[in-house]
């Protein structure tokens, strides 16, 4: 029932080899989990889970339903409770200061977390300046819908808006739960560019998915085996 991948230390590779050659302290593993375990409703979801993600690296979480992919993502975001093990960010305890950890995390869950009554631009407003919001909407090709209530947008457009918020946060670690659900091929390709740019800037990606993601050179962590 529980998955034990002790000693899993496949490191996601940065997209640029030049960076890897002069791998110094800054380039070392940024996110490190050591023997993580969590319990949900008296059920041990996973235990002894260890992995590392370097700057610019990506980790893909796979596994059957109920394997604990979403639970792990929430755990990494600091929204869950770690029963055992340690989570390190640049060598320091990641969850010691939750607001500080929140500032380096952008999380996209199953739900888009949008307010249907507000317009697309208003939904993004708290997370960025007016200009940044306009730019993020343009990148997601949602600019024509900026002043439309989200209620009128399609499921795929809402997902794109949620992805636009992700980029707006300027966070180093992206935690994505089925990010491409409901997206068309063009949007998935655009999302791939977004991911590549984020990783080229030293960002980290941890994603749970059943669909193929536009993510090169990602390490895979299979849960629930």
């Amino acid at each position: 029932m529980c998955c034990c991948e002790s000693g899993f230390n496949h490191t996601g590779q940065g997209p640029s080899t030049g960076r890897l050659l002069r791998r110094n302290k800054d380039e070392a593993d940024v996110l490190e989990a050591d023997g993580l375990a969590t319990i949900r409703g008296e059920r041990l979801v996973f235990a002894g889970l260890s992995f590392r993600v370097a700057a610019g690296g990506a980790l893909l979480l796979t596994g059957p339903n109920g394997a604990g992919k979403s639970t792990l993502l929430r755990l990494l975001a600091g929204l869950g409770r770690i029963e055992a093990g340690r989570l390190l960010w640049e060598g320091a305890e990641a969850l010691a200061d939750l607001p500080a950890h929140a500032a380096r995390v952008a999380y996209l869950g199953h739900s888009d977390a949008l307010k249907l009554g507000l317009t697309a631009a208003e939904n993004l407003r708290p997370w960025g300046t007016r200009a940044a919001v306009a730019a993020a909407l343009a990148t997601a090709s949602l600019a024509p819908f900026a002043d439309l209530p989200v209620r009128l947008l399609s499921a795929g457009q809402r997902r794109r808006l949620a992805l636009a918020r992700l980029a707006l946060r300027g966070a180093r670690l992206w935690l994505l739960d089925e990010p491409t659900l409901g997206l068309d091929a063009a949007s998935v390709a655009r999302f791939g560019t977004m991911l590549a740019r984020h990783r080229a800037g030293g960002g980290l990606v941890v994603a749970a998915t059943h669909l193929p993601l536009p993510l090169d050179a990602a390490a895979t962590l299979e849960l629930g085996r």
Partner: protein, 221 residues
């Protein structure tokens, strides 16, 4: 602080966009208070004597009405996760919600209380004290209500649990608020009662957001 204000502005924009939900508490307050003259008769002596109590009880019940959705909507659509990850500490989020609740429910109740109290034939000496007492009282109700709303978050039948949790906590507000107004009506000083209300508010202002923040964290887990 900038983020706090941006999020508060968003809460208010949402409240305006869903105007009927926001108005419901206010209309409930006016309607419930309007039932009393019909039930106990319009005799000025009886009605005026009961007026402070009626206003306070109706305001208390009306303030509880929107609490169910205070965090409930955000919890259901995933916004609560985003708020917890916004970089604001959880107690600051709770304070934000309490402020939004007061601005959209407490302040309108305060404005409506004057005409309602006059309709209930309150004495001219008691009216200013009633309004003065309602200011800390509505603020307290928003703070206590935020704790209740955060605690029942994620619980089955939370909407039923909520009044059971908040109403007992709100009894001191009721007691000191009405006692102060009564004192003024009988020519005594309402000062000690109002000071008690202010003291309660001073204690609740830091404590309630802390408690609600802890409840929010555990609801997200």
């Amino acid at each position: 602080m900038k983020l706090f204000l941006a999020l508060l502005r968003r809460e208010l924009a949402l409240a305006l966009r869903h105007g009927s939900d926001t108005l419901a508490a206010l209309l409930f307050f006016v309607l419930a208070a309007a039932l009393f003259p019909l039930a106990i008769g319009p005799a000025p002596g009886t009605l005026g004597r009961l007026a402070p109590g009626i206003v306070y009880v109706c305001a208390l019940l009306a303030a509880i009405l929107p609490l169910d959705r205070l965090f409930g909507a955000d919890f259901d659509d995933g916004t609560l996760d985003q708020l917890l990850l916004s970089g604001l500490p959880a107690p600051a989020l709770a304070l934000l919600k309490a402020a939004a609740h007061w601005l959209t429910t407490g302040a309108p109740l305060l404005l409506a209380a004057a005409p309602v109290a006059v309709m209930l034939r309150i004495g001219p000496a008691a009216l200013p004290v009633l309004l003065l007492g309602l200011l800390p009282a509505t603020l307290l109700l928003s703070l206590l209500g935020t704790v209740g709303a955060a605690v029942v978050l994620g619980a089955r039948r939370g909407g039923v649990l909520l009044p059971l949790l908040v109403l007992p906590l709100a009894t001191p507000v009721l007691i000191f608020g009405v006692a102060g107004t009564d004192a003024a009506a009988f020519g005594q000083s309402p000062r000690p009662h109002l000071l008690f209300l202010a003291a309660l508010f001073a204690a609740a202002l830091p404590l309630c957001p802390l408690a609600a923040g802890a409840a929010l964290r555990s609801a997200a887990e």
